[in-house]
């Protein structure tokens, strides 16, 4: 097992390298002169020269890459062309919003998935199960921004339970923060909830056939006890793995939700940089996000080997 883990980690290296090359090449692949592409046709020659200097476009390609990669490893991704703020700083400023969103989404998804999935499994084939399954399939078929819009319409505009847009950081009070964060997190979380519920339901329906569940029933234990304290743990391996993988996926998902609700997170950084052609910001963000995504997925992949008791226990 150690061998396959080592192999996976080894394969990471060429992939990270290629990812960095691809990200670096973003400016190279711009049709025409990168500086002109960035500044637009009407830029003055002086501005063009300044940008060319900034990007170091006069030096050979490989040299520029090595410099750029070296700087990146130290956390220096350059400065925004628009605001002149170091890219890493902008990133760090906005990271808490995105992180809170992702974590809240996962929590909501899991907190809902457990009761729904467990009860669906307990009464498999019954009305609750079929209703939940239909609901899950509908949600999964709904693109995330549509779901968000629907939620905004119902909960924010019509019933006015939650604010429509905006964000309040923790420093302004937990209540306000949660109020603003709830709808976006719910939007992200519902799609995950649908998948988790179906997964848990499937695994649990299998576990509930085991003899030890029958034995627990025969001892007079309540359905709540059986579902949560007997059957849940053996059924949750796939769920835990998927939740881990999804942390990475949520990175992409927050972009849309941030636009929908007007939140200032990492995703907004990227989407604003595109029309502004703010390439240092773009490259830096893309690199950080891609590497984070890659590392999370690999960690989960490796970590699963430890969670799965069949692997861990060997010949139990």
């Amino acid at each position: 097992m150690a061998r396959s883990i080592g192999l996976k980690l080894l394969l990471l290296i060429p992939v990270i390298f290629l990812v960095s090359v691809a990200t670096f090449m973003m400016t190279e692949l711009l049709p025409g002169d990168p500086a002109v592409a960035i500044l637009g046709e009407n830029a003055t020659p002086e501005r063009i020269a300044v940008v060319r200097e900034q990007l170091g476009l006069d030096r050979p390609l490989v040299e520029r890459y090595v410099d750029w990669a070296g700087d990146a490893l130290q956390g220096d991704f350059g400065r925004s062309i628009v605001s002149n703020q170091p890219v890493l700083e902008s990133f760090k400023e906005r990271l808490p919003v995105t992180l809170q969103l992702a974590v809240m989404a996962q929590v909501i998804a899991l907190l809902l998935a457990i009761p729904f999935g467990a009860w669906s499994a307990w009464r498999a084939g019954g009305r609750f199960d079929r209703g939940t399954t239909t609901f899950s399939f509908a949600i999964v078929g709904l693109p995330p921004f549509l779901l968000g819009i629907l939620l905004v319409y119902v909960l924010a505009l019509q019933w006015q339970v939650f604010p429509v847009t905006g964000w309040e950081p923790f420093s302004d009070g937990l209540g306000a923060n949660l109020e603003h964060a709830f709808l976006p997190a719910l939007t992200l979380g519902l799609a995950e909830f649908a998948i988790y519920t179906q997964l848990l339901r499937g695994d649990m329906a299998v576990t509930l056939q085991e003899d030890f569940v029958l034995s627990a029933r025969a001892r007079g234990l309540s359905s709540r006890h059986i579902l949560l304290r007997e059957a849940l743990r053996p059924s949750s391996f796939s769920l835990i793995t998927l939740a881990g993988v999804n942390l990475g996926r949520l990175i992409g998902g927050t972009i849309i939700v941030e636009k929908l609700f007007g939140l200032g997170g990492v995703g907004t950084l990227v989407t604003q940089a595109i029309p502004q052609k703010d390439f240092p910001v773009l490259q830096g963000s893309v690199l950080i996000l891609a590497v984070a995504y890659l590392l999370i997925n690999t960690a989960v992949d490796v970590g699963y080997n430890f969670i799965d008791p069949r692997v861990r226990r060997g010949n139990a």
Binding site: G125, G126, I149, W159, A205, Q209, G252, V270, L282
Partner: protein, 360 residues
């Protein structure tokens, strides 16, 4: 439990009630019930749409949902009676919707609808609600454009992008997967590393990066989204190739002296390709969602050209006053994606489960 009784007990525990039952067709009640359901359902929908204008949105939605459910059930039972127990209303509805959308998208120019550039800027027209009139049965935007036209031309754009992206992805991915699975070693290794590199990027980030570099034109979008779908097809094809390589008829052909390329193209490819292709409808759905998201973010289909995502983004600001601006394109998009998923699942099941015969 290993005993036959034990297996019975196990099976009974997980028994799912038969999903495709229909009440008996006998007796007055049995014969009248389904058509009654259909009629009641339609009535409920009509009432929700026009009769309850003044009621809150919640009530209207509730009535509409109940009406829809009754209509669905009624049609389902009628369908089973007419066509037998294998009738699945979901599949039929999905196929019908897809056929409709494709027809409208392809023949958009020939239809009796306004071109999407045409706007009616008279006061009554701006932001007109959907209603029973032609051609603005779906209403107008606040700039006077016909929602119906924009939805249809937007469908054309989205479907074009979807089909092209998947077609390119299929071509490149299948060839790459075939080579990787067949030749192995270095070629496999490098193709796998390339695939993993593409997969290393969060999907939306990757396409955003491509759009940032090459601009957001329809062509860029289609090719960029193709890049996103290539790894999927590559992996699928590679797995299929690896499996089929071992089959006896391939080895037999090899023993008879067939060349490498002949083996690959004439023996392996035809048998591997069908299961891989069966995913395509689902991939098209994913691409349409991605394109919709991009258009929503403002970096998708460029502005004057209509697209579902763009319409939703534009309408979002006025959702409270003119909800139809958002809900019309949203509903169409939702139904299309849902239908593609449903239809694609059926195709997958048919290909994987039914057709086990292979081409020799």
């Amino acid at each position: 439990m290993a005993t036959p009784e034990g297996q019975l007990l196990d099976a009974a525990s997980v028994q799912v009630a038969a999903t495709n039952t229909a009440p008996a067709a006998t007796g007055l009640r049995g014969r009248l019930l389904p058509p009654a359901l259909v009629v009641i359902g339609i009535l409920a929908l009509v009432v929700a749409g026009w009769g309850l204008r003044s009621a809150s949105a919640g009530i209207r939605i509730l009535v509409a949902v109940v009406g829809g459910a009754l209509l669905w059930r009624g049609l389902q039972v009628l369908g089973i009676r007419r066509y037998g127990p294998t009738f699945r209303l979901g599949l039929v509805a999905a196929s019908a919707w897809l056929a409709l959308v494709m027809f409208l998208a392809v023949f958009a120019d020939l239809l009796p609808i306004e071109h999407w550039t045409k706007a009616d800027i008279s006061r009554e027209a701006l932001g007109l609600r959907p209603g029973l009139r032609w051609p603005e049965v779906l209403g107008r935007t606040t700039n006077g454009y016909s929602e119906l036209s924009h939805v249809i031309y937007g469908a054309r754009t989205s479907l074009t992008i979807g089909v092209v992206a998947v077609a390119v992805g299929v071509l490149v991915g299948i060839v790459a997967g075939l080579f990787a699975g067949w030749y192995g070693r270095v070629i496999d290794g490098s193709i796998t590393i390339a695939t993993n590199t593409i997969l290393a990027f969060p999907p939306l980030i990757l396409i955003l990066a491509i759009v940032a570099v090459y601009g957001n034109t329809v062509r860029t979008l289609a090719l960029g989204l193709a890049v996103l779908s290539i790894p999927t097809y590559t992996r699928l094809m590679r797995a299929q190739t690896l499996a089929i390589r071992q089959r006896e008829y391939v080895q037999a052909a090899d023993a008879m002296g067939a060349s490498n390329s002949r083996l690959m193209w004439r023996e392996v490819l035809p048998n591997a390709v069908l299961p891989v292709l069966s995913y395509s409808f689902i991939v098209v759905a994913v691409v349409i969602v991605a394109e919709g998201s991009l258009s929503y973010l403002g970096v998708g289909v460029p502005s004057p050209q209509p697209s579902w995502g763009g319409m939703i983004a534009a309408g979002q600001r006025q959702m409270k006053i003119n909800p139809h601006l958002v809900f019309v394109p949203a509903t169409v998009m939702f139904l299309t994606v849902l239908s593609l998923n449903r239809f694609g699942e059926w195709v997958r099941k048919r290909v994987l489960g039914g057709d086990r015969s292979e081409i020799r």
